[in-house]
């Protein structure tokens, strides 16, 4: 019966593979997750951002079936996470293997838990380290092993919690290409991260967590465009220009001048609007520069400037 149900879900394509409804979880008096709702579509890389203690890890632990929510519901493939354990692959934040266990042994052990295990070791560059003990591995290799273990059961959904924290920039980039490869293999990914660059590069949509709630949920560029004055154009006009004309443009939110330089802030289409105006007035924009607000800036605004306590 459930096979039929899965078939229906699968057939409809783009349907939510993960559904979280008004999830709530507290530890004693402390509210970890207040009320969180989101859906993840099949094949999506869904980013979860937010400061420490915002409820990110608790939320994904509920999705993984590791914690029971106090309120609300979580379903994966239309069922309770505990019932579809082999369809969910999890890489946990700060999870270590015993020191003396060898890479090959861990892979072999985990593959014995699943009916049709997938071997990611060569794609993850682990083939040359099968005899190495976990305690001897570099941070990057440890992370790759934990990804390989998360993917060994050929999961439909992979949860990766702070995958690249503590990695050097090169190892981080290598890990990103691995994640892209995993997605192209058809795996839906929930990615908890601290790095804006990572979210911008990988995620289709991002949920920004704040105080146990989702402060914003959008594509990375959608989040950026929510910030007022997201785009800023600076130039020195070749002839004098009436500032009122600029201010009249619907795309413009603010105009200021620094010496002979004009600084115009506004929405995404600002550059086009400003250059069209200048062309009509036959004014050339000298030393033209365009600045885009980054996801980093958007994040700071959305989380109420709590970036400083986030590390």
């Amino acid at each position: 019966m459930f096979d039929d149900l899965l078939f229906v879900l699968h057939d409809r394509g783009g349907m939510a593979i993960v559904e979280v409804r008004e999830l709530g979880k507290r530890y004693g008096p402390r509210v970890a997750v207040d009320s969180v709702s989101f859906e993840v579509a099949e094949g999506e890389i869904f980013g979860i951002l937010g400061p420490n203690g915002a409820g990110k890890t608790t939320t994904v632990e509920c999705v993984a079936g590791l914690r029971k929510p106090d309120r609300g519901s979580v379903s994966v493939l239309g069922r309770a996470p505990g019932d579809v354990r082999s369809a969910i692959g999890v890489q946990l934040q700060a999870s270590e293997l015993p020191e003396r266990i060898r890479v090959g042994e861990a892979l072999s052990l985990f593959s014995s838990f699943y009916p049709s295990p997938a071997d990611w070791s060569s794609r993850l560059g682990l083939s040359g380290h099968l005899k190495a003990e976990f305690g001897q591995l570099s941070g990057g290799l440890k992370q790759r092993l934990s990804i390989a273990l998360a993917l060994i059961g050929s999961p439909r959904v992979a949860i990766l919690d702070e995958l690249t924290t503590g990695l050097d920039p090169q190892a981080r980039r290598d890990t990103w290409s691995v994640i892209e490869e995993v997605r192209s293999a058809g795996v839906t990914i929930l990615l908890v991260t601290h790095f804006m660059e990572e979210a911008e590069r990988l995620c289709d949509r991002v949920a920004v967590f704040r105080d146990g709630r989702i402060a914003a949920l959008d594509t990375p560029s959608g989040l950026v465009s929510r910030v007022d004055g997201a785009t800023r154009v600076r130039f020195v006009p070749s002839a004098s220009l009436d500032v009122a004309l600029l201010q009249a443009l619907p795309e413009v939110t603010e105009v200021s001048s620094v010496g002979s330089q004009l600084v115009v802030s506004g929405s995404e289409n600002l550059l086009h609007a400003v250059t069209s105006l200048l062309a009509r007035k036959q004014i050339v924009a000298r030393q033209l520069r365009v600045d885009q607000v980054s996801l980093d800036d958007a994040y700071v605004e959305l989380t109420g400037g709590s970036r400083a306590e986030d590390h």
């Binding site: 082999s86 999870s95 270590e96 015993p98 266990i101 072999s108 014995s112």
Partner: protein, 242 residues
């Protein structure tokens, strides 16, 4: 049960030098030490058991207790690492996990018993084949409560507190269980405590074929109570932590 999991756990136990020393070497060395101290040879204890035979049984029992205790307690370390959490996320069931740890504890107790008995044979312990098998089997099955005790400690203790608790348990069950001092010489109140511990009764069962007056029924009852009680606690703890 997942045999690959068990095989890996065994390999890890053997790779751990500390395990080999404490559970295999220490009981054997203690046995040799005591045999030479007491003179061994032809002497017998008041209960009629030859000194060497009695020491052999006691030291094997010590091994039966120490090995499984230390192996079970390593669960605390694995919990601290997050390794157990990772295993919980796989389709490996809770009973599969606990049974594997239990089987591991049983296998880990075996080499110590065998080594002490082999040394015993060299030191002049004589009994017929059926009795040898009986003694070995009793000692080995007697490991069950200690295997469970180790697992419970592993599920309850923190990685830091684990060593202290294991040490304490080893003292309590060894000393009060009558491995180091016989219950006959203890004052009444102490003897009562000793007779509540599984160690005392496993020792009684091992000696049963050779001395008179062992209450086999009471022995089995006390040991069974320990086994059932510890199993329930282990299963509960494992579930609560999920």
């Amino acid at each position: 049960m997942n045999t690959r999991f068990l095989a890996l756990e065994l390999r890890r136990a053997v790779r751990n030098g500390r395990y080999l020393i404490f559970t295999v070497v220490v009981p054997a060395v203690m046995f040799l030490l005591f045999v030479n101290l007491y003179g061994g040879g032809e002497g017998t204890f008041p209960n009629g058991l030859p000194v060497t035979t009695s020491l052999m049984m006691n030291m094997a029992l010590f091994g039966v207790m120490a090995g499984p205790l230390s192996i079970g307690a390593r669960i605390a370390v694995e919990r601290g690492l997050g390794w157990q959490r990772q295993l919980r996320l796989t389709p490996l069931t809770g009973s599969g996990y606990l049974l594997t740890k239990g089987a591991l504890g049983m296998l880990v107790g075996l080499p110590g018993i065998l080594l002490v008995c082999v040394i015993g044979a060299f030191e002049g312990v004589r009994m017929d084949a059926a009795h040898w098998i009986g003694v070995l089997a009793t000692l080995w099955l007697g490991a069950i409560p200690f295997v469970l005790l180790g697992i419970v400690i592993g599920l309850v203790a923190t990685p830091d507190g684990m060593q202290a608790i294991t040490g304490l348990a080893s003292m309590l069950f060894g000393l009060l269980g009558g491995i180091w001092i016989p219950a006959d010489v203890a004052p009444d109140w102490l003897a009562t405590i000793m007779k509540a511990l599984p160690t005392f009764w496993v020792k009684q069962l091992t000696q049963a074929p050779f001395v008179s007056g062992v209450n086999v029924g009471e022995a089995l009852l006390v040991i069974t109570l320990w086994v059932v009680g510890l199993s329930v606690i282990a299963a509960r703890r494992y579930r609560v932590q999920s």
